[in-house]
Symmetry: C2
């Protein structure tokens, strides 16, 4: 399948690398290709190396502008930082998203709240996924994979043999079907819960607050939730 | 141990009944004892029967005013509906809560949002538990048990042999120790995660949004989360 991935950070790289590895045609999108490939510095306190370095190890992933990646994809992943999501999607272009499945993996991480942890810039009565769906009504937005670390997203087996859950939410049933198939076949997810329409993204986005506290308490991001009962 | 429980709904009854059953001296508090015992109607669409009926089956639980229950308890549970929590605690009386462990089980359930589901009246940058701790600085507030249904709170074994998690958060380490012991010995919890200080209640309270969607999707409230990894 032709897939576009918007964003070249940890999430964008993890998704692109894995989808390409299992045989999809992947184009990852960035603001300025030349600038991205010229960068030599690491980010996130040294945890994320330069993109060019990653790209040498993942040469099958093509690099293009946001618009180029979106135009390429039958399915487009929004793997941007949440605060940049709408701006990046505008740059990708409404016509390049029309009638496509838009998989929103982002979280509305805002400025720092108490305890040094970020608060959400939208929550409770609205969600980032709903903002995206409202601004791009012809895209079929499916919220998923935003409740876990990038390394878990693309390799659920690494935790307890995959015995834990990922959620999907969205208004278009066939788009959710397509995403569920990608989660299963592309990433190896065995346990997928369809929460309902796009407003269910409020729940998965607000879960970030608990997720961050769990990460602090456990000292690792390599965990996930299993629904028991 | 002497325990006060504020609130006579499903949560208050479940906690009181179980704590009494395992040998604690429990007083459950209500606004107007005579009025409570005189009620004959069911609530919650018939799911919660009259209190007097429940009380006949749980005669060891004493009934008193909010102030009486709080005065009795070395440990006091706030099992009210979140919107009434502060008002009920004021009725219980600051002096009756002083230097006591105040176990906050409530959630800040507000008015209806999209999809007919309630939104939270406080979240993201603050929490109900923090509001309570600020208003009653001499109480040692511990947030716990607010991420699951009442029937699961007091009988974790009923789901997967108890192989799932409950969270605690609070500023006072010895108060958390006491609550963790009650969770273990009183209710049979095997897996308890200390998230940190009282601001971690933002995370567990905001989880309600996902919990409600999960309840809708699964058609039952009898579930819980296990942290895997």
């Amino acid at each position: 399948m032709k897939i576009g991935v918007l964003g070249t950070g940890m999430v964008g790289r993890s998704l692109s690398g894995k989808l390409s590895e299992v045989g999809h045609s992947v184009v990852v999108g960035t603001r300025d290709v030349t600038e991205l490939l010229a960068r030599t510095e690491s980010t996130m306190g040294g945890r994320v190396g330069p993109f060019a370095e990653w790209h040498r190890e993942n040469p099958d992933v093509k690099v293009d502008t946001f618009a180029g990646a979106a135009a390429h994809g039958e399915v487009v992943f929004n793997a941007t930082a949440g605060a940049a999501a709408l701006e990046v999607l505008r740059a990708a272009g409404e016509s390049n998203l029309e009638d496509k499945v838009l998989v929103d993996v982002s979280n509305p991480i805002g400025s720092s709240g108490g305890g040094g942890l970020p608060t959400l810039f939208v929550s409770n009565t609205d969600s980032l996924a709903e903002q995206i769906q409202r601004e791009f009504p012809r895209a079929k937005v499916v919220k998923t994979l935003n409740t876990m670390n990038a390394s878990v997203m693309v390799d659920p087996q690494k935790l307890d043999g995959g015995d834990h859950h990922v959620f999907v939410g969205g208004d278009d049933a066939s788009a959710k079907e397509k995403v569920i198939e990608l989660l299963r076949e592309g990433f190896g997810w065995q346990h997928i819960i369809d929460l309902g329409d796009i407003t269910t993204a409020r729940g998965t986005e607000m879960f970030l607050s608990l997720w961050l506290r769990l990460m602090q308490a456990r000292g690792t991001a390599a965990f996930n939730v299993k629904i028991v009962g």
